[in-house]
Every structure is written in C-alpha cells, then in structure tokens.
C-alpha cells in the first residue's frame, strides 16, 4: 500500500483530534526543550568551569618537582624547582606553548592591626602574559610591578571581609623552609575580582622575587605554569617536555576532581534525561492508545478491506513518527534558541552559589554552551523513545480481530 496514504491518514487523524494532538506536541516540545537546555547548561558550566580554571588557576600544563604535593604547599628545597626560569624558557621554545612562567606558592597569614586570616600566597611574574586573565580581573588599583617595591594584590572579597582598600598596609607572615617565621609589611596596590569567590577570598599575589625573598627559597619556584595555544596540543606538548627530575602534569591530572565530578555527574544527568523522556513516552503512549480505542471501528473496516496487521501497525507508527518529528523539530529549535540566548547573557546565580573549589570554578553567572551534536543526539533519542513506546498501541491495533473491531460499529 502506498506509504503516502498512511501518511495522509495519520496526518488527518492528528488534525481531526486537534486539541489532543496539540497537547501531545507541547509535551514533546517542552520535554525536548528542557533536555536540550539542561544539556546546554551542564555542558556550558562544565566547559566554562574547565576553561576558566585552566585560564586562572592551573594553565594547561604544569612542571613541578617530582616530590611536590600541592596540598602541602611545601617550601622544602627538594619539593621546589631549582631553575624555574630556564624551564620556562625551554617550554616557551615549543611551538604549542603560548606562554610559560614560574609561580611560587606558600601558605601564610595576612594581618592588619585588627585581625588576621589564613591565605595562600602566589608569587608571580607580573610581566608575564600568563597572568593577563588576572590583570583583566582587576577591580581597583593597579597590577603588580617589577620594581621591587613591597606590593601586594588581594582578592576583593578578602578585602571586603577585612575592611581593606587600595593603599592600606598589611603584614604577611609565612614559615620559611627551616620552619622559622618570616614577616613583611606590604602595601595593597590592587584588588582582584575574578568572579570566583574561592580565588578572591583566600589568595594574595606578590611579585615572584618578593615571594622568594620572604620565604627564603632563593630563585626556586613551586611550578612552571604553561598555557598552550590549543587545548588539544596538551599531549604533544607534555611528551615534548620530558625533563629528568621534573613532573609534567597535563590539565587532565590538574583537574582530576573536576573530571571525576563530570563523569559521576553524567550518570545523574542521564537519569534526569531518562525521567523527562519517560514522562513524554507515557503521554505519547496514552495519546496513541486513545486513538486506537477511538478508531476500533476504523481498524475493523481497514481489516475488512484486506489491510494486514503489520500495515495497521505501520500506520500507527507513522502517526507517532509525525507527532515525534514535529515535536522534536519544535523542541530542537526552541531548545537551541534558549541555549544560544543564555550562552550570551548567562544566568546570574549570585556570589553565594559561585565557587572555585579545587579544580572547579563556577562564576557568579552560568553560561550555556550550544552543542549541535548534543541537540541532534537528544532529538534522535526523543524520536527513538517515541517510536518505541508507540509499538505497544500499534501492536494492540494490529492484533485486533476484524470481527471484534467491527462489532464496535
């Protein structure tokens, strides 16, 4: 039988029950829109979190002494890189590398006459373009200079908590490698507002040489942080940087927590998608079953005319396919528009919800990411689910005995 007739019958039946068809289409459209939006939001948050974490906190690759443990923030000689500047120069010779610069980390206490708080000291080379993202985050004052003055830059949140502003003097206390306390007085030259509270309320930034002086570590550094031109170049650059006694860590290792969270989260998100799809599936099954019950007489007529069970089944599946196709197209368009819109404007979540926990930075706004492959895949899944759940009503219609169906006359 001509396929066209099945389409015509399916389409006209949908038009005949306009209200039910519209409600079902709304369910499919909203279900798919929600799924696409969720996917875009999750993808966007993860992508921007990873991108910003790399940009602001880790770089793509880090060189460290093999014995260095980040959590201990050790200043012991064996845990630091001896010639960090030479390593940075060596790294910058690779074509994949955009910039490399040494950093010294230390734990310390920031204090005023009124109060003190534990912080993390970041000794950085202010001239390096590696710190451009930090420079762009400057909310007040100026960026660190290279002239050796006792300058310090602190997070804006930290400044707010300690009632500090640009120009105020603070003292910084830190333990040197021998365990003896060292102190210095610094002037706040700038306030940083990166949008990531975890970074802005516990970190202070000094000129690298200042940090090396106060901690008595000579010209050593905790790491050489490297930024690549392309994320995809990580493997090539990592293997080209094999240096004896130096650990080369790619962004995957540096963001182990984030990647594990992503992997675990994906199971949860898949579960959510499944729930949405299941709700839509039940609505579709209900619509088609209603249609079968209402058209029992018609099934009997068609069977009397010689239509076989599989043809009746095909007719119902086509009806479901029409519903699924139209709903999926609308859902995909609406979902894409929403994802695109929020990828530009973002969704403000406030400082309370933002964070920059180890390896995972979430700013004060969440941005969605438009991924055509995900949209296509979700739309296809929606179609598959719709066709699968339609099998039962279609089979129910197909197995009806002509005589019983005609008795519905």
């Amino acid at each position: 039988m001509a396929f066209k007739t099945f389409w015509i019958m399916g389409y006209r039946d949908l038009v005949r029950n306009r209200r039910r068809t519209i409600l079902t289409l709304v369910a499919i459209t909203l279900g798919l829109t929600l799924s696409i939006f969720m996917s875009g939001l999750i993808g966007g948050v993860m992508e921007s979190s990873l991108r910003d974490s790399i940009r602001l906190t880790t770089g793509h690759i880090q060189l460290r002494a093999e014995s260095y443990e980040e959590i201990k923030v050790s200043l012991l000689r064996r845990d630091l890189l001896d010639e960090p500047d030479a390593l940075a120069v060596q790294a910058e010779m690779l074509p994949e590398v955009q910039v490399a610069s040494p950093i010294l980390w230390a734990s310390g206490v920031l204090g005023t006459i009124r109060e003190s708080t534990a912080i993390r000291i970041n000794g950085i080379d202010p001239a390096s373009s590696l710190h451009d993202p930090l420079r762009e985050s400057l909310a007040a004052g100026e960026f660190l200079t290279n002239d050796g003055r006792r300058e310090i830059m602190i997070g804006q949140l930290l400044a707010r908590e300690m009632d500090l502003e640009v120009g105020d003097r603070v003292f910084l206390a830190v333990g040197n490698p021998d365990g003896a306390p060292e102190e210095g007085v610094f002037t706040i030259v700038g306030l940083v507002n990166s949008g990531f509270p975890g970074l802005d309320n516990t970190n202070v930034f000094l000129n690298l040489s200042q940090a090396q002086n106060i901690t008595h570590v000579g010209n050593r550094a905790s790491t050489v942080r490297i930024l690549l031109h392309q994320l995809d170049d990580t493997a090539a650059a990592t293997s080209a940087l094999e240096i004896p006694g130096v650990a080369v860590l790619g962004w995957q290792e540096l963001h182990e927590v984030l990647l594990t969270a992503l992997e675990t989260g994906q199971i949860f998100y898949d579960f959510l998608y499944a729930i949405i799809f299941l709700v839509v599936a039940v609505i579709i099954a209900n619509t088609l079953l209603m249609s079968v019950f209402e058209r029992t007489r018609e099934m009997g007529i068609l069977a009397a005319l010689g239509m076989k069970g599989r043809q009746i089944m095909t007719m119902f599946l086509l009806e479901a396919a029409i519903l699924g196709l139209i709903g999926s197209v609308f859902g995909a368009i609406l979902g894409s528009i929403l994802v695109y819109y929020f990828s530009i404007t973002g969704i403000y979540i406030g400082e309370g919800s933002a964070s920059a926990v180890e390896g995972m930075a979430i700013g004060t706004s969440m941005f969605t990411a438009l991924n055509p492959a995900d949209i296509l895949s979700l739309s296809l899944w929606m179609m598959i689910v719709i066709l699968l759940v339609s099998l039962y009503p279609a089979w129910y219609a197909a197995r009806m005995e002509p005589v019983e169906a005609l008795h519905a006359l």
Binding site: A2, R12, R297, L305, G306, M307, P402
Partner: protein, 229 residues
C-alpha cells in the same frame, strides 16, 4: 459455478461461561453473478454467516471455501489477502474511513492491491460515476448524506473487482428513497459486472430485488432458495 461454499459450519461464541450457538451446521453454496438475499429475524445468524463467507471470522467447526480455497484453515494474513482480492463489503453504518475523501475511500482497496496510479484514477472515476457521485469525490464522509455515504461504500466494495460483495443490512440506516437508490445501483452493478451480491436484510422491499432468498432462523438455514433447504 460456485464461488463460495459453506459446509456444515457451526459458530459458537463464548461469553463468560455462557455459550451462544450463532450458526448450527449451516451448508450453503453461492454461485458467480448471484443477487442473493439472506433473510431472517434478528439473531438468526445472518451476520455471522456473512462474516464466515467474508473471511472475517473462522467457523468453530465445518468448512468455508472461497474461490476454491478452504479459508477455514487460513491464518489471519491469508484471510486478509483473500478479502483484499476477492471480497467486497458493505456495512449497515456505511463504514467509510472518516479522514479520507470519497475518492480516497474508493481508492483504498486498489492501493492495498498495489495497482498503478493511472489504473486507480480510471477505476475510481468509473465507480464514482456508476454510483452518481462524480461531483462529490473530494468530500469526506461527514460532508455527505447517509445515502451518498452508502453509495461510496458500494463503489469501494466493487473497486478491486471482487467475485462477491457481502452486504450486511445495507439499507437499514437509509430512508426509503435512498435505500431504493442503493439497491438499484447494486442491482445494476451486479448485472453489469457479473459480481455476485449477498445481502442480509429483513426489509421486504429489499428482498424483492433478490433473485434468490435464503431464509434463516436460530442459526440454521430454513430455505436456501434453491428448493433444497
């Protein structure tokens, strides 16, 4: 020449624990070109007998032969095929597909037989003209009167050139004029095409059209119209 042969057919329906014997050892033969009325009161088994002859159902016991095939042994698909190729149906309630136009309803059996577009066009046009509905071909059932719908049903029943058209109370839902018009058309097409018609009725005016009357009561044939009841 016999086109349908029913031998000692019995049909028993089970509803819960009760048993209804709709047909009780019925034997019958329908020849090509006949215009036969199946008459009897309600519950006499007319519809059940039509359903067995039309391969819509199988007898509980006995045999039904259609065009030389023992359809009692056929599975659902085989029965669908023989209905598609050899049998036309007309029902009391017109039974058109509501979402299709008159043209499309008549075309449906031809589509099921995978016939070419040009043949379908020609055949549908001829049939709709035969029943006087050329000007209503694009109307859907809900845009037509009962009489018009039944004429579309007659055209559809004849579309695939069946050997027999089985009609169950074809005039029961029509007024006198429309009922008469439907019977006139059926009689004309029977004479023109040679297709046999078997119609169940208890309307004496409809019986008057038949050239053979088969009388039924309580699931049995009282008189098969050949004088061999």
């Amino acid at each position: 020449m016999s086109i349908i042969k029913v031998e000692n057919a019995t049909k028993i329906y089970h509803i819960g624990e009760s048993e209804t014997r709709a047909l009780n050892g019925v034997s019958l033969q329908v020849d090509a070109g006949e215009f036969t009325a199946l008459v009897g009161p309600s519950g006499s088994g007319k519809t059940t007998l039509l359903q067995l002859m039309g391969c819509l159902d199988k007898p509980t016991s006995g045999m039904v032969m259609v065009n030389g095939n023992n359809v009692s042994q056929f599975n659902a698909n085989q029965r669908a095929e023989i209905r598609q190729e050899k049998i036309g149906f007309i029902f009391q309630f017109f039974a058109l597909v509501p979402v299709l136009s008159a043209y499309e309803n008549v075309e449906l059996p031809l589509l099921l037989n995978n016939l070419s577009l040009s043949y379908r066009k020609e055949r549908v046009a001829y049939l709709l003209e035969s029943v006087g509905l050329t000007n209503r071909m694009n109307h859907r059932p809900d845009q037509m009167s009962g009489g018009e719908q039944q004429r579309v049903a007659i055209a559809r029943a004849l579309a695939s050139e069946p050997i027999v058209v089985l009609a169950d109370e074809p005039t029961a839902n029509l007024d006198t004029a429309n009922g008469q018009q439907a019977m006139d058309i059926m009689q004309k097409l029977n004479q023109e095409t040679g297709t046999a018609f078997v119609f169940a009725t208890h309307d004496p005016r409809v019986m008057a059209y038949a050239n053979r009357l088969i009388k039924m009561r309580d699931g049995r044939i009282l008189d098969n119209g050949n004088g061999a009841g």
